[in-house]
Symmetry: D3
Subunit: 236 residues, 6 copies
C-alpha cells in the first residue's frame, strides 16, 4: 500500500504514529511523511529561518530511519490555515502524486490550532484531489478514490478515545529514535513546557499499550465520513 | 409558510429533503430552493462553465416539479467559504427577501467541506439578516426574526441520528423525479463513486421510513441555538 | 388523545410536566397520572404509613385541578425496581387500560434511583403491554401499538438538554397550584434540601421558557427507539 | 476461529449479523449461535409452549444453512434478566465450552429490554467465564481470556452509528434465507408491527452497504472495555 | 491572580460571568475585561459609529463597578474572524501584557458566529502568546505559560452543561448593575428579541444556582486541552 | 473532611485513587476505605474462603499505610448487585456513620460488572442515607446531606476522560506501596491477564500526570446529579 501521513510540525507524526509508520514500512509499504508547518517558531533563541532549516533536516533524518519520503509544505508556524486555497492545492497535489490507500493525520480537535487546521485541510484536500476539474499543484491527474483517514492521538491523549489500536511493541525503539532526531524540539519542549520529550512519547505509547494488552501501542479513530468507510482494517 | 431550503450543490436538496419540500409545496407553502455552489466541477469531461449551465437548468427543472423558486448563488465547486463576507451578504439578502418561517440546510458535519461551509453560512447569514444595520445584498429591510433551522441528513446518513422524521410516502416518486432531473450528476456519481444515484436516494428514504414506521421518510435534527428553538413542529 | 404520564413520587409529574398536562387537558385530551412510589419516606416526622395516605390525597387534589385520573402503584419509597415482574405487570395493566397515544415519564438518567427505575419500567412495560401472550394486571387485551415516550426534565434540569419545548405560559399558575397541592413535600424539600419548592418549580419553567422564547415552558426529549418514533408532534 | 453469537430471540442474530456469520462460516470458522429467549410470546394466536418449539426449529433451520451450532437458553420472552445468576452461569458455561475468539451480541441500548439484558449478560458472563473459581453451568474449565465483543446493529438501526462494517454482498441471499426460516416471526412482525420482515432486513443491509460503498453490509461497534481491546480486526 | 475575561460584545461578559468577575475582584484579583466586537450594529436606530461609542462607555461603566480594566478590540459586529492574523495579534498582545493566570471566554458553540469566533481566537491567541518568535501587538515578551481557559455559559444556557459552578449569591446585585450599565443593549434586546434583559440575566443565574444549591450561580466548563489542564480550582 | 472511598475489590481504590487518598490523609482528613467485594475469586489456586481472608489482610495493610479505616462489605466476587436491599442498607449504614464530605467510587461504566454495580450502589445508598425513614444497617441517624461523588478512573483508563486531576507526585511511592500490599492480586493479575501490576499502576498515574503537567496524577469526573453539585473543589 501507499500510506500518506500528514502532520503539522516536523515531529508530530513521530509522536503520534511513528511506530505505526515504522511497522508499515517494515511490511514493505511505501510511506510518505508530510509536515505542513516548517516549525520555524519552535525555539526561544534560534531564529525562525535557521530553525526551519534545522528542523527540515531533523525531519528527513527521522524519515530516513524507516525509509520514508519526507515532504515539507513549508508553512510558517501559527500560520496554517485550511481555508487557504494554496494549502489545499499543495496537499491535493501530494495526494494525487502519492495516491494513498489511506491517510493518517491529526484529529479535528487537538491542543493547538495549527494541528486542527491540518486535520481539516487533509479532509478537504483528499476530497478535492478526486475531482477531475479541480486544479491542484503539480499537475497530476485526479486521484481515483477518496482515501480513508485515520486520526492519530492528540498530544498527551487529552480528550481522545481511540477505537483502533496498533501494536508497536517491536517498533518502540525505532519510534524513540525517530523522535530523538528532533533535537531542537526536544530542547524546546523542555524549555517551553518543561517536559522530557522522549519519556513523554514512551509513556503515552506504553499507556496505549496497557489499554490493548500490548507492551506499546498507538491509538487511532477512523474518520466517519462517506465514502471513506471501509470493510477491512488498513492499519497494520 | 415561507420555507427556505439551502443546499450546497444543485442536487443536494433533492437528495436530502426533496420529499419534505414536495410535501410542503403540496400543502400550499411557498418553497425557495437555493444552491450555493454551481456544481461546475461535478463531471469528468464536461468543462466547468458548460456544466454550471447544465446544472442550473437541471436544478430549475427539479424545482419546477414542485413549483419552487430556484436560486443559484453561483459559487464554484470547492470554493464555498462561510468566512467570506460576500457569501453571507448574498445569503442574508435571500433571507431578507424570502422571510422564511424556517430554513432547511446541511448539518454542520457532512461528507465534504462545501456542505459544511453552507451549513455554517446559513447559520451566520440567518442571524445577520435580522440585524438592522447589517447591509446585505438586495437592499431588503432586516428580517423580523432569527429563523429556526432544520438540518437534513448527511450523505448516506453517515454519522447522523435524526430526532425528527417527515413521512414522505406520498411524495417519494416526486422526490425521485426531482433527483432524476439531475442527469449530469446521476452520471457523474456513477463514474466518480460507482453508485446508482436514484436507487441510493430511494434506499436512504426507505431506511429512514423503516425507522419511523412509514414507507418512506426523511430525517432531520433541529439546530439547538437560541433564539431558534420552537414550541411547535414546523416540519410537515 | 389519551395521554399517560408516569412519575415516580406523587409530585414528580407536577414538577416536570404539570403545565404540559394542564395544557393537554384544556385541549380536551384524557390525562392519566400515575405515580409509582407512594412517597411514604418523604418526611422527617410523619411516619411512612400516614405520609403515604397524605400524599395520595395531595396527588388526587393536584390531578383534580386538571381533571386527570390519578393512580398510585403504591411502591414504598426507595423500593422501586424495574426488574420486578409485578411492577411491570401493574404498569402494563394501566397501559392496556388507558391505551395511551403517548407517554410522558422520567428520563433514564436523573438525580435518584427511583426516578431512573420508573423510566426503565415504563420503557419495558409499554412494550410488554403490546405482546398478546404477556399477562398483565387487570386482564385487559394487549395494546395495539408501542407508545411513543417523551422524557421530561430532570430535577433542576441537571444534565438535561431538551430537544422539544412546550409553551406553558397560559398554564404556569395551574402548574404552581398543582405543585402547591403537595404541602407535605413542600415542607420536606425545604427541610431536607433547603429549597423553596414553588419558587424552584417556577424558576425552572421560566428558564426553559427563556430558552425557547416563551414566558414559561417545559422541556422534553423523545425516546429514540423503534417503533416509537413519530412523524408528527404529539406534545401540545 | 471460534465465533460465538448471542442474540435475544431466535431471529435476532439473523437480522443483525446473519451475513457476517455466513461469511465467517464460509471462511471455515466455527460458528455457535445462541438465543437467550425462546421467543414463546412472539405471536398472537399460537400459544407460548407451542410457539417456543416452532421457533426452536426455525432457529435450527436457519443455523443449518451456514453449518452453525444453535443453542437455546430457553428463557421465556420478557423474562430475560442479566441480574439472574442462573442466566450468567448458563452463558458462561457456553463460553467456557465454545472458547470464542470473539463474541457478537446486541448493543447495550436497543429497542426492547430483553435485547439490552442479553447484551449486559454477555458482557458479564464472558468475564465471569475467565475466573477459575467461578462455577458455571457445564463444568468446563475457565476460559483463558476475556473475549472481545462486537455489538451488532439495533433494530432498524435507530440510535446506532457503526464504527466497523462487514461486506456481506456475497452473503445477502443466505442472510435472507436465514431470516426466511423464521416463518412464525415473519407473520408476527407483519401483524404486530405491520412490517415486511424480509424487505426490512434487506433494506437495512443495503443501507449499511451504501454507507461503506458495498452492495450490502452489516454495521458493528466494538465494546470498549479492558481487556477486550484488540490490535487486529476480528470481523471478516 | 490576573484574570482575563474575553467576551464578544460589550455586554457578554456581564451576562455570562459578571458575578464571577465581581467575586474575583472582591478577593483582590486583577480583572481585565476585553470585548472583541464594538457592538456597533446592536441597535435599530442609533447609527453604528455613534453606537460603538455609547457602548464603549457602557462597558467602561460596567467594568468600573468592580474595578476592572476594560479593553475594546473594536471589531465591527458580524465581522469577528478568528482566522484573521490581526485579531490574533491583538489578543495575544493583551495576553502578553496581562499575563493571566486563567482566561474566561465564550464556549466554542454558542448562539451566533461572533461569539464562537471569539472563543476560537482566544484559544489560538493564548497559545501563540507563549511562542517567543511569534510577534504580537504591543511588543511585550512571550507569556510564560499557556493559560487555562474556562468557557462561560451560552446565551440562555442552550446546549450547555456546566461542570463547574461559581456561587455568586453575594454578587448578584453587582452583576445586575453591571448589566444595567448597558442601557442601549437592554433596549435593543427588548426590541430585537422581545426580552427583558435584566430579568433574563437574573433568571439564568438563579437557575444555575438551583442546580448547585445556591441562591445564584454561574456555570462553566474547562477547556480540555493540553497543557491547560490544572490540578487546582482557579474559579473563585 | 471525612472522605469515603468505596471500591469494588480490595485493591481497586489503591489502583484508582490511592495517591489522592494518601494526599488527603497527609492533609489531616479522615479516610475510610470500603471494599464491597471480598475478592474471594481473584486467584487460580488459593480457594475462595482462604483468599478472602488473605485479601482482607492485604487491604488492611494498604489502608494502614495512610492511616485509613478499612471496611469490607464482604460480598463474594461476581455477586455484587446494586439492586439488593441488603447491600444498599450496608452502604447507607457506613455513610451514616462516616458522614462523608464527599465520596470517591468507580464510574458507572467500567471494565467489569461488579465495578459498575458498586458505582450504582454508592449513588443509591448515598441518597437513601439522607432519608430519615429509611432504615439502614447500624442504626445511625440519617445523614444531613447527599454527598458529592467523584468517579475515579476506569481500569487502564479505557473510555474515561477526566475533567479533574489530582497531583499525586509526592505520593506516588506511597501509592505503589499500597498496591504492593496486594501480593495475591499482583500475582493473579499477572497470571490471569499477563500484566505487571505495579508497573501498570505507575504508568497510568504517569500518563494522567502528563495530561495535566505533573509527574504523577489521578483523574476524576464529578457525578453530575442534583443536589450533589458543588461550588468548590473538594479533591485535594
Amino acid at each position: 500500500m501507499n500510506v500518506l501521513a500528514v502532520g503539522c510540525h516536523p515531529d508530530d507524526l513521530e509522536i503520534g504514529c511513528g511506530g505505526t509508520l515504522a511497522k508499515l514500512a517494515s511490511q514493505g509499504h511505501e510511506i510518505t511523511m508530510v509536515h505542513v508547518a516548517n516549525g520555524n517558531k519552535g525555539h526561544k533563541i534560534i531564529p525562525p529561518a535557521e530553525l526551519a532549516e534545522i528542523r527540515e533536516q531533523e525531519a528527513k533524518k527521522a524519515g530516513s530511519l524507516i525509509g520514508a519520503e519526507v515532504i515539507s509544505l513549508n508553512r510558517p508556524d501559527l500560520m496554517v490555515k485550511s481555508d487557504q486555497d494554496e494549502l489545499i492545492s499543495l496537499l491535493a497535489g501530494v495526494i494525487r502524486r502519492v495516491r494513498p490507500d489511506f491517510i493518517i493525520t491529526h484529529p479535528p480537535e487537538d491542543y493547538m490550532k495549527d494541528h486542527m487546521e491540518v486535520s481539516r485541510a487533509v479532509f478537504d484536500a483528499s476530497f478535492a484531489a478526486t475531482v477531475p476539474h479541480y486544479e491542484a499543484d503539480g499537475g497530476h491527474p485526479a486521484a481515483a478514490k477518496v482515501a480513508p483517514i485515520y486520526y492519530m492521538d492528540t498530544l498527551a491523549g487529552v480528550g481522545f478515545l481511540p477505537t483502533e489500536y496498533v501494536d508497536i511493541s517491536d517498533f518502540i525503539e525505532v519510534k524513540i529514535q525517530m523522535n530523538d532526531s528532533h533535537q531542537s524540539q526536544i530542547k524546546w519542549l523542555y524549555e517551553h513546557d518543561g517536559i522530557d520529550f522522549l519519556d513523554f512519547v514512551r509513556t503515552v505509547s506504553k499507556f496505549r499499550g496497557l489499554q490493548c494488552g500490548k507492551a506499546y501501542a498507538e491509538g487511532f479513530k477512523q474518520c466517519q465520513a462517506w465514502p471513506r468507510l471501509t470493510t477491512e482494517r488498513l492499519l497494520p
